[in-house]
């Protein structure tokens, strides 16, 4: 069975704000599959461009809100794909990321990609429900 997870805050509804044809997350088979998380304001949907550090804090905060609204949490992440705009920021990413996955970090792969709207980071995540 497939269950759509609605945005817990209006700003996290990227379909409403930006026309992205996607749901915030889908629960299926005991797992929660999240859409690519971006550094947008969870209340207004406004884009928060900044440093990789500041963008990563917003992205991970948004992921926390989304997972907790679905009855999961950052502690229940199983797999993360971290897309960053430049691999030179790998250590910078790790410094922020480490603060959010203190209890047994999920499997993770990091690579460099072009991210929409000139953002420096996007996170793609799967969590245990």
């Amino acid at each position: 069975m497939r269950e759509i997870i609605a945005a817990p805050f209006p700003g996290l509804d990227l379909r409403q704000h930006y026309g992205h044809h996607q749901s915030p997350a889908v629960r299926a088979g005991g797992l929660i599959f999240c859409s690519g998380m971006l550094p947008v304001d969870p209340h207004t949907g406004e884009r928060h461009h900044g440093t990789l550090t500041s963008e990563a804090h917003v992205v991970l905060g948004n992921l926390k809100l989304l997972l907790e609204s679905a009855g999961s949490s950052l502690d229940r992440l199983v797999q993360v794909h971290a897309l960053i705009y430049d691999s030179i920021e790998y250590d910078v990413l790790n410094r922020v990321y480490r603060q959010y996955v203190a209890h047994g970090p999920p499997a993770r792969t990091v690579w460099t990609a072009q991210i929409e709207a000139g953002f420096k980071i996007a996170l793609d995540a799967i969590a245990a429900a």
Partner: protein, 132 residues
């Protein structure tokens, strides 16, 4: 109802996320009948040192380590369902593929290959999802 989530420890010598200076990632996580494996780079499991080489040689090291990691977790290469391969240049895809074909059983799992800029001069990263 919560699904069970279990961290799979690194085989001896592999980078351990609880150690200072290691990346904040577990080698693999088991949840809901699946094992999610982190993107692996070529590492010597005896010493923990990075092994720099060609795309082909790094692919071989990664797949030997992946086999060991999966088997230590009670799975195996023939239980892999999906693989993502990231390589520093798509021109190297045939070199990766030739080594890859020797390690995975026939019929092989689903796979996506893409070129990407990888951290710290790494030539290949391979991650996968397997049945537990």
């Amino acid at each position: 109802m919560s699904a069970r989530r279990e961290i799979i420890a690194a085989p001896a010598g592999a980078p351990d996320p609880s150690q200072r200076g290691s990346p904040p990632a577990s080698p693999a996580v088991r949840a809901c009948d699946f094992i999610f494996v982190s993107g692996l780079t070529a590492v010597d499991l005896q010493t923990g040192e990075r092994v720099s080489g060609t795309t082909a040689s790094e692919t071989r090291v990664i797949l030997v380590n992946l086999k060991q990691l999966l088997e230590a977790a009670g799975s195996s290469l023939d239980r892999v369902v999906k693989v993502n391969v990231l390589i520093h240049s798509m021109l190297e895809a045939p070199n990766m593929n030739e080594v890859y074909a020797r390690h995975f059983p026939d019929p092989p799992p689903a796979r996506t290959v893409c070129g990407a800029r990888l951290p710290e001069g790494v030539k290949v990263i391979i991650e996968c999802t397997a049945l537990a």
